[in-house]
Amino acid sequence: MLLIECPYCGVERPELEFRCGGEAHIARPEDPSGKTDEEWAEFLYMRTNTKGVYAERWRHIHGCGRFFNAVRDTVSDKFLKIYKAGEPMPDLASLAKEAGK
């Protein structure tokens, strides 16, 4: 079973306690009504869907209930970095290099 560390609880827990919330660091437009339909659709639906190192939102739904962010290699399913919500996105290229990719 995949073990994931929760940055709020500070412990590793089985994957069952977590839910993935899709790509991280997508900011909601500050002025939604000023956006065209295409721009709004882009914000709502379009994701990079990287094969490789990817920053995602995760939620410890059956634990502390908090959202956090994680960098995961979508090929090997390895978590490369876990950080709290609100912290800046780490440099994905250097994380990928550290992981030997």
Binding site: Y8, C9, L16, H62, C64, G65, R66
Partner: protein
């Protein structure tokens, strides 16, 4: 070891009563879900008479009440059933206008007291986290999953746990917990 807050309910039959393990339904208890930032937390501490635990997965107990860390800004507060209303009034008054949520969930959850040499083994039949006392020491509290039901688990002694589940899930949790114990009876 027993916890003063969790007393067996004398009106209920034991769910399980074996030499290596006993499982008892706990008597009704006052429970609150409390959420709030620093200002509300400080005021809540005054009303409770002790600080809310800030260390993840820990609990604080004093004068018959307890506060259990469930999240960075979320606690479960426990008090004897008769003190529920008084505690709610005291908390509401102390916190005043500071943004917070204080919800009486006394009847949302029920508790099982699981005690015995085989308690860890029995709980691990449905909870995939390490319950050895070195990894899950006495006093540790967490929400997790028991099979498919969300539960709260609090270790109140070396071989003693409290399992809280929502009322409508309790038959499922108690039933599935009693199941592996038939293995002990057979042995």
């Amino acid at each position: 070891m027993a916890n003063p807050l969790y007393q067996p309910d004398a009106a209920e039959e034991p769910v399980l009563s074996l030499p290596a393990i006993s499982m008892l339904k706990a008597a009704p208890l006052g429970r609150f879900s409390f959420r709030g930032r620093k200002a509300a937390q400080d005021a809540a501490a005054k009303a409770l008479g002790f600080d809310l635990p800030q260390q993840p997965l820990t609990a604080a107990e004093s004068s018959g009440k307890a506060a259990l860390w469930l999240g960075p800004d979320e606690w479960l507060l426990l008090a004897p059933e008769d003190d529920t209303e008084a505690l709610q009034a005291a908390m509401t008054q102390a916190i005043g206008d500071a943004p917070h949520a204080l919800v009486d969930i006394s009847h949302r959850q029920e508790a099982l007291i699981v005690t015995g040499d085989k308690a860890e083994w029995l709980l691990n039949s449905g909870i995939p986290i390490d319950l050895d006392v070195s990894a899950f020491p006495v006093g540790m509290v967490t929400r997790t999953l028991f099979h498919k039901a969300p539960v709260m688990l609090w270790r109140i002694g070396d071989d003693s746990f409290v399992v809280e589940a929502w009322g409508s899930f309790m038959d499922y949790v108690a039933g599935l917990l009693a199941e592996p114990a038939t293995e002990l009876q057979a042995a």
